[in-house]
Symmetry: C2
Subunit: 277 residues, 2 copies
Amino acid sequence: MTARAFVPGHVTGFFSVHAHDDPVVAGSRGAGLALSDGVTVTVDPVETVGDGGVVLDGDSVEMPAVTGVVERLGTDARVVAETDLPISAGFGVSGACALGTALALDAATAGGHTERELVAVAHASEVEAGTGLGDVVGQARGGMPIRLDPGAPPRGYLDGLPARPDVEYVTFGGLDTAEVIGGDTETLSRAGEEALETLRTSPTVETFMRACRRFSREAGLQTDEVRAAIEDVQSVGGEAAMAMLGQTVFALDDGLSRAGYDARSCRVTAGATLVGE
Amino acid sequence: MTARAFVPGHVTGFFSVHAHDDPVVAGSRGAGLALSDGVTVTVDPVETVGDGGVVLDGDSVEMPAVTGVVERLGTDARVVAETDLPISAGFGVSGACALGTALALDAATAGGHTERELVAVAHASEVEAGTGLGDVVGQARGGMPIRLDPGAPPRGYLDGLPARPDVEYVTFGGLDTAEVIGGDTETLSRAGEEALETLRTSPTVETFMRACRRFSREAGLQTDEVRAAIEDVQSVGGEAAMAMLGQTVFALDDGLSRAGYDARSCRVTAGATLVGE
């Protein structure tokens, strides 16, 4: 029996790194958006270990976060993922594949895990793979998640902004998540903690966007193209910021289009869920 | 500025009552389903206290849970709620109106509350009104919520079953929630705690349905019509149980139709959300 899950894309606007030996406890604090552009993951359990693998948009790929989920759930599987999102550009595609695999593989095998257990499995696998620290829990929750605590359930307390804006995005290229979160993160984390404190004091979309912009500046992550696009959107009265971690700019409503960019449009959406075949 | 929210219906399958002087802390433990049949709540803030009120499906009604939300948020409002769900039949319509009012009124007034804060406001208002103990937190979360702890955020830890079955339901009449949860709840709560323990040991949809049936029997809540409908569904190989608190039977997939009932059909869905006008 195969099963299928849809996992929203997730853009982190700011974050701080919280390392821990236990990958369920490790993670990030921060805030972001779950996007209706996401990843559909179809899972087919296989009996012989080694018969599995991951196919992403038609290409056979290595995806350690997915391999980790399959190993933790103890059943090999063929995983087919399809997405319109850019890869390695700050949309949490690896986290989406990990979480989608956890949900669908559990369903396909009648594994009997709860949602929180499957989120923890996917989060731990993603952290071990070094490809993300907070996307999985944000993708599981949906909306505009505020990650008040690092880690996965039963840790990782989340809140959220109730707003559900339309979102546009444009990507100029990737950033290496493993390199950034594996390097010196002290400055970045200090900026992320300040951004979170700012958002908690005034939990609105406007404050979120402002905190994101300040974070990416202070963390020294903005490239020239990213900076220019953000300024272009602001110059037409829009709100834009940089996606962590990619050379990606996201804007509220039609801010990028109005600034003349060829942007993709989607909206803030609900969390990951099993879907019919 | 008006704003609008959609809140899923919520059927509780079993529960235990946890009283407390603080309505944010009081609540229930248990499990249920969030349904795509729900309540759309449109809120229009008004400046003069007393100009507000609640209109449900075209009729002006008293709804203390909504009044409580409006008072807590400190802005009077006109609240217009529309639903296809039966009223007072175990679908959490009052909780949906309270939560929808909290989300939409905050959006309409740029109130700057987080989702968890608005859930707590709606839960406390619903508990004080005596019309529900766990619907609001289940409706906020969506899916098949397992309420591991009573109360609202930051309390009220929830998990969920990942399954998203189609659901049918039929209603034979109402039950008075305030009468049941305000009366002697010792037997009911003992049965509810046992059902939760059973589900935690084996968190599957099948176990959930079995635990619901046992709970409604042991709590002495099944009416003759409810009992007959559940048995009719089982006799055609389906899964059915009773909704708390109403003379309502819900079934997985098309169980009620197959047993010859004129049932409404919907599906398990995501949690409450603001929607466009």
